[in-house]
């Protein structure tokens, strides 16, 4: 290797150290008791052993998983037929409706959070998961429809028409002909939404009123705002909450990249 290449490699190594810094902090800080942490010497697994007393990790990871799964299910259930409709079953004003839905992508939740919160509370959905699931679904649907519509446009019209002529019906054509070839798009939406919902704080904080139903990210933020919280425990909790999203990312990296750059790399 030329000296230039070596310098390049060293620079990249240095950047890697910087990007791995959060993981190093979480792991190293969690391996103390609070008093060891303050004095700066000694190691212990004590904070990990007592973690579940401060943060019900098992229950909260389960809550996060259920909320993510339900939200993604709703997003796919409404997004796939809508994408099919906008790409292949165009009706009068369908491109206008499509544009309207895609524009909703630009509305940040904070801008409408007050009426949203009052509406969802009024219909009694802030107890249990359903309020949060609905809000996540509404926030995730516009982008998913954009992605599905773009993808379905690449499916030949003849394929759909042949299916209809063969008596599959529209539901059958969507389910048996289009969905099977759309697996990469479905995977992209699923991975992207999983990470977004798993990592979110605001919706879980406001739309889930039962402490027991809290997802892990909200539990962690609530623990952090407590004054007497032990930092090693907080870091252990952070690591647990980060792990599932990290694993999903490492396993499905290419779908995530595809989703983020969708629409520009044509």
């Amino acid at each position: 290797m030329s000296p230039g290449r070596v310098a390049l490699f060293v620079t990249m190594l240095a950047i890697a150290v910087g990007m791995l810094y959060p993981f190093w902090v979480m792991i190293s800080d969690s391996l103390h008791t609070q008093s060891q942490f303050i004095s700066g010497s000694g190691f212990s697994l004590g904070s990990w052993r007592q973690l579940s007393a401060a943060l019900p990790v098992g229950r909260q990871v389960l809550n996060s998983t259920v909320i993510c799964s339900m939200s993604i299910f709703v997003i796919l259930a409404v997004g796939l037929p809508a994408g099919f409709a906008f790409a292949k079953l165009r009706f009068r004003a369908s491109s206008l409706v499509f544009l309207g839905i895609v524009s909703a992508m630009m509305v940040p939740l904070q801008a409408i959070v007050m009426p949203e919160f009052v509406n969802v509370t009024r219909v009694g959905l802030t107890s249990g998961y359903f309020g949060a699931v609905l809000v996540y679904a509404a926030l995730g649907t516009p982008f998913s429809i954009f992605l599905f519509t773009t993808y379905f446009r690449g499916v030949p019209d003849e394929l759909v028409e042949a299916g209809i002529v063969d008596g599959l019906g529209y539901v059958g054509a969507l389910w048996r002909l289009v969905v099977p070839v759309a697996v990469p798009a479905i995977a992209t939406v699923t991975v992207l939404q999983f990470i977004q919902i798993w990592d979110d704080l605001l919706v879980g904080l406001l739309f889930i009123q039962n402490t027991a139903d809290r997802p892990i990210t909200v539990g962690l933020a609530a623990l952090a705002s407590g004054r007497t919280t032990s930092i090693p425990q907080l870091m252990a909790g952070s690591f647990v909450s980060a792990l599932p999203a990290m694993l999903v990312y490492l396993g499905f990296q290419r779908y995530l990249v595809k989703g983020l750059t969708m629409g520009i790399d044509r």
């Binding site: 902090v25 809508a82 009706f91 630009m106 801008a111 605001l202 999903v248 983020l260």
Partner: protein
């Protein structure tokens, strides 16, 4: 024959409407209607239960409220970090694009923080800036033992600490975007320029950068939108908007006004202002992705 074809087309349109309806209902019910409500409530005294119409006086009051101007000023100050949040990832993407040994592993490592919640990254950043944190250890290690910072604890530096954290959280996404852009660049163009005797900087300036312009625009818009609407988690765990109002941005002001102070009407009004700001930026983005020609 002709009549039958017409029926088929009508049936297809009907199916289209039915298929689009659930998604449309969801978006109208949970996004469009709340926008209308927020506009309405911005003209009222509202505590979440009873509303009293008080007209435009809410707006004149809001614009005389120093909290709003502080929040807008904080957002404007944070905008100064956007060039760094774009430049650093651009440099990293160019490095990755050299495809040095093991570059794919480096790529995975650089993007890894992207998967992590900003709640977690905020908690880690707090450890970094803390009195007994990494920043002070580094300062002491390089011989500045007299300098001890507490960036999050001071009104003059807390916003900068938030800005630095924001830059870190955006590195993964923006690097990913730029790297995708670089991958679409035809290598023979650079090769031809090199043969013609162009230096590295000239090649970057006159071939690479123009080619990336679309990607840079998109990254810019995404970064600005994130700055206005995705900092909530960081602020919530790092500073709670403080000290004082030093790190209260628009989105955090909405949360505080509505949920800490119970002034739902004023919070709805602030929401409309945020909506108008991000909407203006969003229109640029819609143009850029040019979704539907």
């Amino acid at each position: 024959m002709k009549a039958r074809r017409l029926t088929l087309s009508q049936r297809r349109q009907l199916a289209g409407v039915v298929f689009a309806l659930p998604a449309l209902a969801l978006v109208i019910g949970l996004i469009a209607i709340p926008i209308g409500q927020a506009v309405y409530y911005s003209f009222t005294q509202w505590d979440g239960i009873t509303t009293t119409w008080i007209g435009t006086s809410t707006w004149t009051q809001a614009f005389h409220n120093s909290d709003l101007w502080t929040a807008l000023k904080n957002n404007a100050m944070l905008l100064l970090w956007v060039p760094i949040a774009l430049g650093l990832p651009l440099a990293i993407a160019v490095l990755l694009h050299q495809r040095v040994a093991g570059w794919k592993i480096f790529r995975s490592i650089y993007f890894l923080p992207t998967a992590i919640s900003w709640v977690v990254l905020g908690l880690v950043a707090e450890r970094f800036f803390a009195y007994q944190g990494t920043l002070n250890s580094i300062l002491h290690a390089v011989g500045l033992s007299g300098v001890t910072t507490n960036m999050l604890g001071s009104e003059s530096t807390a916003l900068a600490a938030l800005g630095i954290t924001f830059v870190f959280t955006m590195i993964g996404t923006n690097t990913m975007l730029f790297l995708t852009g670089l991958a679409t660049l035809d290598p023979s163009l650079e090769e031809a320029a090199r043969i013609d005797g162009a230096g590295r900087w000239r090649i970057f300036r006159h071939i690479t950068l123009p080619h990336l312009s679309r990607f840079i625009q998109l990254a810019f818009v995404m970064t600005v939108i994130a700055l206005f609407s995705a900092l909530f988690s960081l602020i919530f765990v790092m500073t709670g908007g403080g000290p004082g109002y030093a790190t209260t941005t628009m989105e955090f002001l909405i949360y505080q006004t509505g949920f800490s102070q119970g002034q739902f009407g004023t919070a709805a009004l602030y929401g409309i202002i945020l909506f108008l700001i991000t909407g203006a930026v969003g229109i640029i983005q819609l143009r850029l992705i040019g979704s539907d020609k």
